[in-house]
Point group: none
Chain length 206, copies 4
């Protein structure tokens, strides 16, 4: 397969800078929250001047949107990578939990930043425009999986997919917001979520 040359080396270099800036910003958000995000700190971490930072990203607002964009890219990537359409919904949901596990335990920053941006979206329209689609996308995916799972008979017939999706999302976000993250707690949490939605064992012999 032939490597396509970048459209323009300059453009590519510039994109690298923006990526580096987004990464640095995300690290700082994980450490200090959006509240503690300072353009100077980002520039320092990237190894450039503040003015240079502003050359690449004109305002702080644009910067936070860049972070949102970088998050979206990563988020979408993960979901696109793995076509699982052929599997039953319940198994796909289990794989989602596996993905969450990786996200929550190995890259907890992703969810934390996501959660911070959602928070910010409440008061900032542009942030809302950048981040809420992701949330809706995630939510819809869960709703669809749950609905299918109900149809397939894997989940409780009286399951409310919308409400259950909310519960799952809140639980995932709540877990990542927790300072003491450990795999055991995560597994117990997911186990409980799975028991909460699945159809109870049919005790009598069916």
């Amino acid at each position: 397969m032939i490597e396509l040359p970048p459209l323009s080396p300059k453009r590519a270099a510039s994109d690298d800078r923006r990526a580096a800036i987004a990464l640095a910003a995300r690290e700082i958000i994980v450490e200090k929250g959006v509240e503690g995000l300072r353009t100077r700190d980002i520039a320092d971490r990237v190894g450039i001047n503040v003015a240079t930072l502003h050359y690449h990203v004109p305002t702080k607002e644009a910067l936070i949107e860049l972070v949102a964009e970088s998050l979206r890219r990563e988020f979408m990537q993960q979901n696109i990578d793995r076509p699982r359409a052929h599997l039953p919904a319940a198994q796909r949901m289990d794989l989602e939990f596996v993905d969450f596990r990786e996200l929550a335990l190995e890259k907890p920053g992703v969810m934390l930043v996501f959660s911070e941006l959602i928070e910010r979206a409440r008061r900032d329209e542009r942030m809302a425009a950048a981040i809420l689609p992701m949330k809706r996308y995630w939510r819809q995916m869960l709703v669809d999986l749950l609905s299918e799972g109900v149809s397939e008979g894997a989940y409780r017939a009286d399951l409310d997919p919308e409400a259950a999706a909310t519960i799952i999302m809140s639980s995932m976000i709540g877990f990542c917001r927790n300072p003491n993250k450990n795999s055991d707690a995560f597994d117990r949490l997911v186990g409980e979520l799975q028991r909460a939605i699945r159809k109870p064992n049919q005790p009598n012999g069916n």
Copy 2:
């Protein structure tokens, strides 16, 4: 019962001021987050000078602790007011959900501020000391209710009370963080939580 006069009218007036300050601060936190909290704004809202604000609450740190304290007072009050020890656990849990309903829909600020302070506690030891006990108290209450509910046979035998408590708390907080709060969404959420924990209908024994 005889009403005790306040220890001193001045002391009472001062406490009123502090209460007014805490209230104003909470309003602003609801509107703009802890990040957007400005001493000047609080003073304006209370109708006093910034210096007067600092007379009553010396530093911003103390101010946020005052908010935590005011939250705790309100939180504890609600739990102390209603002795329900005589009821079975599942019914008490249902009443908790009723309380949450009131909190989430009529005084959504309480949970929002609570959530903001928990967030802040992650990086601020003094805040942690002020707010985390509340969180632990709340969590323990849920864990106890769920455990009893399992013992009483109202909840699933395979329920993990710790994990379920986490799920319930996250769901409540997640709901309040949501910008579009409405009673219908809340009721569906709680309905799903209740179905998630309760023992499934015994199909054969009817």
Copy 3:
């Protein structure tokens, strides 16, 4: 001897308060300099409210003048207490050094506050009016003693009393400004000053 009753008990109590305020202010000046003098700190040390302090001493300027006045009173007292007119000048000068010794080693605060106020007098006319007379009085006393000492043949014939007075005063103040005050250093300093002014031993007349 009959104790005169105070002109009015109220007036006396008020004067006591002012004296206590002056004393507290002087202590703080010794510790932190005039720069670090805060009305609140003085009030705290006296055990009264700031507003009460302002009742007794209306402004900070008046407060510093009060300190100057208290210093003057103490200073004058010391000089009035001991009539030594009958002694030769050189002996009276030696007694002055003894007085300085006591002042410098046992009550170093007096000279320190004095020095601080002189400094302040450079930019503050009212302070100048309150404190410079003391300085001039002290200086004149030294000039007179030195002149007489020269006349009496105890001091060098080529001694310049004015310049020597300046040297002695500067040395005393300089010593008190020094953080590491000890009696040995003081004695060596005074010894050198005495050798500096006295008529050298007549080598032949042994």
Copy 4:
């Protein structure tokens, strides 16, 4: 000898700014004392924004250290410029007095600022670290000159070099602290100091 170009024009410009800031700060200290030093005033005098001032000198503490550094540079310069090792000690001491004369009468601010910083060093460790070495250096130079002068027979055999150095320093500082500086008073002061230390005329023929 080849003039080295400045390492970088920007660096040079920045150093100029810092020098201008130090100069302005020193002027204000002369006028109002360290107590009266305001960042805003310095910025105004230099003709820059307060924020720009903080860009070059981050804190007020650093600013005062900058002043100390600028003083030290000037102080050391004067002492390095003139190698006089070949002269007898008494003549070198006389030249010191000439230097003092210039300092006291033409650049009185230097000594005044020096004196203010020494004062401040009493309560501020970092200031002590920056300014006391200068004082010790000055003092040691005087002690050495006086000791040599005694050895050379120019000064009194019973001279205590340590005490005499203290007297000379105090006199110089005291003179500069005086608001009414004039050359006549200075000359009389130095004359008296010289007579105070030198060996009295040997009445040879008696």
